[in-house]
């Protein structure tokens, strides 16, 4: 009884900020609430959910969101690990570089996205100006569907690699130096020590990074809205952007809630998958 009492504040907080909004959305997803109903909720049963399953744009966006998340988080992990290893070494000027590395992450996403939009502007941005001065044709970075999603990934990687590097650097600092020394004395090369000592001991931190970053990337919103607006032809549209459009542009709140919940399910599945993977890896190691 006293245990419940002691947990009560935390439980109440969870209920207020997590369970209650979720239930509210679940209820809203069972209503029609749009311009056609005079913005008043009307129960429609599972109609919104049936629409969702048949909605090509939802599935296209789900695919795009997933691709964006996997590719950008993958790149961030590899680059972030590289930076973390570099910043973990002792060298002159390391402190300054550590601070500089963090700058992109400290920048508000909107500001950063505006910056990239200018850099990749066709034909007036600096990159295209450079290409033109070299006598090359300018590239429609944000106007071609293929290039636009790659540009979005680039901007996200640029901004969040420092965050990944920071978390992994913290992990590296938790590994006692004498493990590396013992390994070196046993004849291990630095490359072997990365695979045999560093990475296995960094595993918990890598999972934390993946969990944080996947959840964030699957909910990507501001970067897309500012950089491409979801275009061209919805080719960079994420689920969060689609949910936003449903609510704020199409004024279809019931369906927007359904899209949001669909996205939530996607997030839940990927997080659960990751946690299962972590457990299996731990058991095997």
């Amino acid at each position: 009884m006293s245990a419940l009492l002691l947990m009560a504040p935390a439980l109440l907080l969870l209920l207020a900020v997590f369970v209650w909004p979720l239930l509210d959305y679940a209820w809203l997803s069972l209503q029609a609430q749009s311009v056609f109903t005079g913005l008043q909720p009307e129960p429609v049963g599972l109609a919104n959910w049936q629409r969702l399953l048949a909605d090509g744009r939802f599935w296209q966006d789900a695919g795009q969101t997933l691709r964006f998340a996997v590719v950008s988080v993958g790149l961030e992990l590899v680059l972030g690990l590289g930076f973390a290893l570099l910043l973990h070494q002792r060298w002159r000027g390391r402190g300054v570089v550590r601070t500089l590395t963090l700058l992109p992450w400290a920048l508000p996403t909107t500001v950063m996205a505006l910056g990239w939009r200018w850099i990749f502007n066709d034909p007036n941005g600096p990159i295209n100006a450079l290409l033109q001065s070299l006598g090359l044709a300018s590239v429609p970075f944000l106007a071609s569907p293929q290039l636009a999603w790659q540009t979005t990934v680039l901007a996200d990687v640029w901004k969040t690699t420092p965050f990944v590097a920071l978390l992994l650097l913290a992990g590296l600092q938790m590994i006692p130096a004498d493990l590396y020394e013992a390994f070196a004395l046993e004849g291990g090369s630095p490359w072997q020590s990365l695979w045999r000592v560093t990475l296995p001991l960094l595993r918990p931190y890598i999972f934390i990074v993946l969990l944080f970053r996947l959840a964030q990337a699957l909910g990507v919103f501001d970067l897309v809205v500012v950089l491409t607006g979801g275009g061209p032809a919805s080719s960079t549209e994420s689920l969060a952007v689609y949910a936003y459009l449903n609510a704020m542009r199409f004024l279809d709140f019931g369906y927007s809630a359904t899209v949001m919940l669909g996205m939530f399910v996607l997030l839940l599945i990927s997080s659960a998958g990751l946690l299962l993977l972590q457990r299996r890896v731990q058991v095997r190691a």
């Binding site: 006692p176 020394e181 390994f183 070196a184 004395l185 004849g187 001991l201």
Partner: protein, 338 residues
């Protein structure tokens, strides 16, 4: 390794001897080590003894190649290995923290080194099984280091060092994380396993009792210099200076400044009650140790420590004398024996 009881395979094929020549290391303006000369014969166990910060761990790290000296040479079997990277020195080190890989089982902790050196799997498994048997760890192979007791961890670290087949064994305070009783139990075991092979052993400790118990010779280090190097008996019977005199022997030696500019050193166990002559003393405090009692007595020359077999109470007055051969004399200004 053919049978679990042989220890011949735990050492390198060719006998090795270790020689440190004029070794120096500085950090900034501070000299950590200053002109250290030491030699360790094959199979000999040398203890580096000194207070914390005296540079004894630095000596080990220089031999292992984990730090580089600013001056001097390290010779192993005549080869100059001063510039050689740690991976190619073929030395084994038991770390104070044991430095076991926390993510690997005991068996994998032991085989990892052989894996990276390209030893085939079958041979690895055989060697690990043998050394686990030798160190009474046979049941522990599948456990993680976190699931072992301190003593077991220490033995795993030792097993890993044995499997390296090193040309030198280095041990950095290997007992300091164990309780006193276990330490005493393990000392003879450690000696049996490490010493008497064909590899020299360098053993770092700040505990003089441990050093005397385990080592063939002891080098007392202070302020980055070797103060004296010799057998435990030599260090006890003829300490070269006041530092060594104060460090070897428990309870600590009594040092009495004399009017002629010397310091008279008298060990507490060499004082005896006499009826005539000697110093008049009065008992100030006592600790009873069973076989003897440890007394602090006041004399005209200052307070003295006295190890006494009898049973005296506080306030008792008597006279203390000593045999001439037990007198140690040092120059007051330099601290050197005279």
């Amino acid at each position: 390794m053919t049978t679990p009881t042989t220890i011949s395979t735990t050492t390198a094929a060719a006998p090795a001897s270790l020689r440190l020549e004029n070794l120096g290391r500085r950090i900034g303006d501070r000299a950590i080590l200053d002109g250290v000369n030491l030699a360790v014969a094959p199979g000999e166990c040398l203890a580096l003894l000194g207070p914390s910060g005296c540079g004894k761990s630095t000596v080990l790290r220089l031999i292992a190649g984990l730090d580089a000296p600013d001056a001097g040479r390290i010779l192993l079997d005549g080869d100059d290995i001063t510039e050689r990277p740690p991976a190619r020195r073929q030395v084994a080190m038991v770390f104070q923290s044991y430095a076991l890989y926390p993510h690997l089982s005991v068996a994998r902790n032991l085989s990892l080194g052989m894996e990276v050196r390209g030893v085939p799997r079958g041979e690895r498994d055989r060697e690990v099984a043998t050394v686990l048997q030798l160190l009474q760890l046979a049941e522990m192979g599948q456990r993680r280091p976190a699931e072992l007791s301190g003593g077991q961890r220490q033995r795993v670290a030792l097993a890993r060092a044995l499997l390296r087949r090193p040309r030198v064994f280095l041990l950095d305070e290997p007992m300091s994380n164990l309780d006193a009783q276990l330490r005493e139990e393990l000392r003879p075991q450690l000696r049996a396993i490490l010493c008497g092979g064909s590899a020299p052993v360098v053993y770092v400790t700040h505990d003089q009792q441990e050093a005397m118990g385990i080592a063939d010779r002891i080098a007392v280090l202070q302020d980055g210099r070797v103060q004296q190097c010799g057998t435990p008996q030599e260090l006890y019977q003829a300490p070269a200076n006041l530092i060594v005199a104060g460090f070897i022997g428990r309870p600590q030696i009594n040092l009495l400044p004399q009017p002629d500019g010397t310091v008279l050193g008298l060990r507490p166990e060499h004082l005896v009650a006499v009826t005539e002559g000697g110093l008049p003393v009065r008992v100030l405090s006592r600790e009873w140790h069973g076989a003897s009692q440890q007394l602090l007595v006041a004399s005209p020359q200052g307070e003295l420590r006295w190890t006494c077999a009898g049973n005296l109470s506080i306030g008792a007055e008597l006279r203390l004398g000593w045999a001439r051969e037990h007198e140690h004399r040092f120059v007051q200004t330099t601290g050197q024996r005279c």
